[in-house]
Symmetry: C3
Subunit: 184 residues, 3 copies
């Protein structure tokens, strides 16, 4: 946080994005008004409660709203799953494709509540801890934890078909994604 002395209080009305800081400076005295020049930033959580084990939610509108509220014209927008059995990814909002992703991920990392990898029934070491979601931790690595999107002229700088999805691989409970925006 950068703090900068300016000539007078009056200037504040001309610099609405410069925050006025009333805390005393070193020595406890505050002889001139102090302003803080800050990069803009915004943090927002999105909460989900997917009723099934797996689900794919288009969260583009929510991210777009956050970008608008951030007042950032040029910067970066990070969107990440806050849980390690879910993904945030960018792809097409086409129901057939989403079924294809789901089938494909299940083939690459099948659900199996078992915990004996060497036996004929297969399984995962992780599920020996009492969990049944090892497959979800694997699926999430294929689809990714996060996306970083450019912000240009106050908008998500997207190609024609880009849509942001939250992919749930171990649902039926409350989980979150994080939006963090920085820029000017």
């Amino acid at each position: 946080m950068r703090t900068l002395a300016l000539p007078g209080r009056r200037a504040a009305s001309r610099v609405p994005s410069v925050r006025y800081d009333r805390r005393p400076g070193p020595g406890g005295k505050l002889r001139v008004p102090r302003y803080t020049l800050v990069m803009k930033h915004l943090r927002q959580e999105l909460w989900f409660d997917v009723p099934d084990r797996r689900g794919y939610l288009n969260i583009t509108a929510e991210v777009r709203d956050a970008v608008a509220r951030s007042d950032v014209r040029h910067g970066l927008c990070l969107v990440n799953a806050m849980h390690i059995t879910a993904s945030v990814y960018i792809n097409d909002d086409e129901p057939g494709l989403i079924r294809d992703y789901d089938d494909w991920l299940e083939k690459l990392a099948p659900f199996n509540a078992g915990s004996v990898p060497s036996s004929s029934i297969g399984g995962y070491h992780h599920n020996r801890t009492g969990e049944d979601n090892a497959d979800a931790h694997l699926k999430r690595q294929v689809m990714g934890r996060e996306v970083v999107v450019a912000i240009t002229d106050g908008e998500l700088d997207f190609g024609p078909w880009e849509q942001i999805f939250y992919a749930e691989f171990d649902g039926r409970r409350k989980k979150r994604a994080l939006i963090k925006i920085i820029g000017e």
Copy 2:
């Protein structure tokens, strides 16, 4: 965008990276010169027209040029595919490895224009829409949409073998990648 009142016009010649803003402030009056302190940023598109369905292009030189033009000394450089059937990734520029990637991706998510997943010929739900590129949407998730690279002392802060690639999985048409740089 942060706007800051400064003592006089003369100072401007000493602060080349501070933009002089002649727009009137609230109330329509402009009694002191106004300067805008901005984080540096640069946006650039790279266009491709890969003649085959799949192709792997080393775009490191183009990204390096953009970093140089941005005049950013310390910051972050985002490079992402703007299309959802292509990837931007970082790995080695070695032709054998690129063949290995291509063979491996084709094994993980084979091209199949068919659209009947349950039949003996296989296929993808997405291709029922008239598309034939479902495999490209899947391959792109393995290789990733984007990379974020540190900029240090005005250069891409790379390890010894890092090279940035645009990977096309559904070419034979014009497509783009985006470079967005922010920093100081």
Copy 3:
């Protein structure tokens, strides 16, 4: 780097995060004090020498230390492998899960020092160059090169189980990851 003329030297004691720049301006004269308003940033390398071919190291504490030293309250923290046969990813620090990842990656992209893909023994084109690590280049794409983590109120803005790992797929030599932090 943005340079800004301020009314007097005295102000400097109130603005500790604004750097005082004694270099003369254009023309070689320095008539007013000059200050440089900078975004905060920090760069740090982490070095590893994993004794086996593959290994998974929790580097969360090291990244947390870097965030604290950066003095950034709000920003982004990039952590990336600087080598192309290693990953940085975020997931659970549970030994069973790490074994599951290792087994799964070996199934998706098995180690094979061979270099004749078409023969019955399999192999990789890349390994014709004298390398034996083609599988490592493939595994790294599944797990990813980098993570970008939000910094909020001076801390990694993490969900309940997120931990940052360096995954080595071709060890037994010194290799590095990069931490780059920007923000305010």
